[in-house]
């Protein structure tokens, strides 16, 4: 019969239920936004994306106009020149400049405020660059070897750090929407008896499953599009989406993550415990899947672990659909198919388990 009528009925009821549930709306829609704003601000977004991204101070013990102009011309940073060491040091401590470079005879000191795990390597890198410029200017020699830096992108489009980050935030928002929604759906409704009540009606488990998860999928889409909208308006994102592929990725990734949620529910039984485990998993995935920190800098073991979590692949797919990663179409399809089949398989298996008799 009226499978379509049943479908509509359930879809409508669960949509109303979800939208009226302020907590659910908050977690699926506004929560990813908080992330976007915090990390967008941290990484500066594209609004603040002036090419030299660091401002440094320079103090020369023996003033040399030649050296000063060499530094200003050749260093890839904004350079402020200071007349005395104290005022430069103060500027470093106040955070007006990222580092202060004091150059005396045969010695370059780099003064900076520690407190970020990348700072030390960043500073030693900067030290090398300054040393090179200084030695060249003082010894008055030209380079025998010159290096031209050529940014690559896909189809000639070079992505910015922020765009990269954005792809990660989009991935996270749909993964969390997918995972927590099934934990909620099957866990909470099972516990409160809603599922039992529905299973005594003449409804097909698959109809129920399809319509109730479709609601979550749409919520996921809404959440993703709000994140994108805000990132364009607030942070001047430059992503170019291949919308059709993108929509497919959102679909399969959300489904895959629903499968993950179900898996947790099968392991932990109690919805609260599954939710807790889900939060841990999200935190863990965020840090090891190459979204906030370059994957290649992780210890080997962590890199291997990352292969087992979908966030790595979702991030890759999103970057592919936004022209930031190059994978073959075959790989793209394969990952999507695995996501979809795996997710649907797990969800179908469980829905049967949760809706059927005991």
């Amino acid at each position: 019969m009226s499978k379509s009528k049943q479908f509509k009925t359930i879809f409508k009821a669960f949509a109303i239920e979800s939208l009226r549930n302020k907590l659910e709306v908050f977690f699926t829609i506004f929560f990813p936004l908080i992330f976007l704003v915090i990390f967008g601000a941290l990484y500066g977004g594209n609004t603040f994306d002036d090419t030299p991204d660091m401002r440094i101070g320079v103090y020369l013990t023996e003033y040399s106009a030649e050296l000063e102009s060499a530094l200003k011309e050749n260093l890839p940073y904004y350079v402020n020149v200071y007349d005395d060491l104290d005022s430069m040091n103060k500027a470093v401590k106040d955070g007006d400049i990222t580092a202060g470079v004091a150059i005396s005879e045969k010695k370059i000191s780099i003064l900076y405020v520690e407190g970020d795990m990348q700072k030390n390597s960043e500073m030693s890198m900067m030290g090398n660059i300054v040393e090179n410029v200084v030695e060249k200017s003082v010894n008055n020699f030209t380079d025998v070897i010159e290096v031209t830096e050529i940014p690559e992108g896909i189809d000639g489009k070079v992505a910015s750090d922020f765009d990269y980050l954005l792809s990660g935030i989009i991935s996270i928002s749909m993964l969390s929407a997918g995972m927590f929604s099934v934990i909620n759906l099957f866990g909470r409704y099972k516990k409160t008896g809603v599922l039992s009540r529905i299973s005594v009606t003449p409804i097909n488990p698959s109809t129920f499953l399809l319509s109730s998860t479709l609601v979550r999928l749409l919520m996921s889409y809404i959440s993703v599009f709000i994140v994108i909208l805000v990132s364009f308006v607030m942070f001047n994102a430059q992503l170019e989406f291949q919308w059709i592929l993108f929509i497919i990725v959102v679909l399969t990734s959300t489904i895959a993550m629903m499968g993950y949620g179900i898996l947790l529910l099968l392991i932990f039984k109690k919805p609260e415990s599954a939710e807790t485990a889900g939060s841990i998993l999200m935190t863990f995935m965020m840090f090891i899947s190459g979204i906030f920190f370059p994957e290649n800098m992780l210890p080997e073991a962590m890199k291997i672990v990352a292969y087992f979590f979908p966030l790595k692949y979702t991030g890759l797919l999103i970057r592919y659909t936004t022209g930031m990663a190059d994978i073959s179409l075959g790989t793209f399809i394969l990952i999507n198919v695995i996501f979809a089949v795996g997710g649907i398989g797990l969800v179908a298996l469980t829905s049967k388990k949760f809706l059927s008799t005991t």
């Binding site: 009528k5 409508k12 009821a13 109303i16």
Partner: protein, 305 residues
């Protein structure tokens, strides 16, 4: 003879060592109200849930409307209305939306407005489920159970946890179902509920049926009599002569009861003794036997134990 809508034969279910349902057989005729009575854990809900298709049976047969499917079918579900003991609905839907939601899952559905009137939920139709009181929620659960205009309705402990007023109101609604000719199966551990509503009563204990019949049949099966209950004006020592009367029982402190088939005769015996032993009889009540007494006699335990 009227049509048999449900027939259960030798139904069994065990959980590990516990025989939750141990060879239950009964049948229900169209238009009857059957009450399944028993203490908590007697196997009432398990039996009903097996019939509803929520639990798998270990063995036995269930015949619905003259057919014996291996598993419950959609067609059967279309003709069946169910109210579960733990009736959770979607919290954020309103009463009206909830009825429309469940209505949408069946081929045929009654109008939500009709059901709302029937269950006196008019004032609350726009309230969200989470804001309903216990009585309102139970009335909604009953309304949902008949949303598909079913031929048979299962009500599992429909009035548990309700105050007497809400309970009576719900009873009225259930009686209306009977008037409409629906077959109703109620599980309950309130004997009064069974007495008020049921045409036939089945008493469960330890997964078995220990008695069945109409209220009168059940009462008669135990005794045809009544009880005389009374107190004494002195507390110390019950006269030996009283104790010797058959069936004498102290039901609470300074409250005694005697079963009798001839009230007058029993009263005169008691008064004779009181005269002789020099004490007064106080607070005499004469009451009919009820299901509680039947249960007590059959199991030696009270229903509420």
């Amino acid at each position: 003879m009227s049509e048999c809508v449900l027939k259960v034969t030798d139904l069994k279910k065990r959980y590990g060592e516990v025989r939750a349902v141990d060879g239950i057989s009964f049948e229900v005729k169209k238009g009857d109200v059957l009450a399944i009575l028993g203490p908590n854990g007697a196997g009432k809900s398990t039996t009903v849930e097996m019939i509803e298709g929520l639990r798998k049976k270990d063995s036995g047969e269930i015949e619905y409307f003259g057919e014996k499917p291996v598993h419950i079918t959609k067609e059967v579900k279309e003709r069946m209305g169910v109210q579960l003991q733990k009736s959770a609905f979607l919290d954020n839907l309103t009463v009206k939306e909830t009825l429309e939601f469940f209505g949408g899952l069946y081929k045929k559905a009654l109008k939500s407005s009709e059901l709302i009137d029937m269950m006196s939920l008019g004032e609350k139709q726009k309230s969200k489920v989470k804001n309903l009181s216990g009585g309102q929620l139970q009335r909604l659960a009953v309304a949902v159970s008949i949303v598909n205009d079913p031929d048979i309705v299962f009500l599992d402990e429909p009035t548990t946890g309700l105050d007497p007023q809400a309970r009576r109101m719900l009873w009225e609604k259930i009686e209306n179902l009977k008037v409409q000719g629906k077959t109703v199966i109620i599980t309950t551990h309130y004997m009064e509920e069974a007495e008020v509503l049921a045409d036939e009563i089945i008493i469960f204990d330890h997964g078995k049926i220990i008695a069945r019949g109409t209220l009168q049949e059940l009462l008669d099966s135990v005794s045809k009599g009544k009880y005389v209950e009374f107190s004494l004006d002195k507390v110390d020592g019950i006269p030996e002569e009283l104790k010797k009367i058959e069936g004498f029982k102290e039901i609470e402190k300074n409250r005694y009861s005697l079963p009798t088939e001839d009230v007058e005769k029993t009263l005169s015996i008691i008064f004779n003794i009181s005269h002789k032993e020099n004490f007064y009889i106080e607070n005499i009540t004469i009451r009919k036997m009820n299901l509680e007494d039947v249960f007590l006699v059959l199991t030696g335990r009270s229903l509420r134990d």
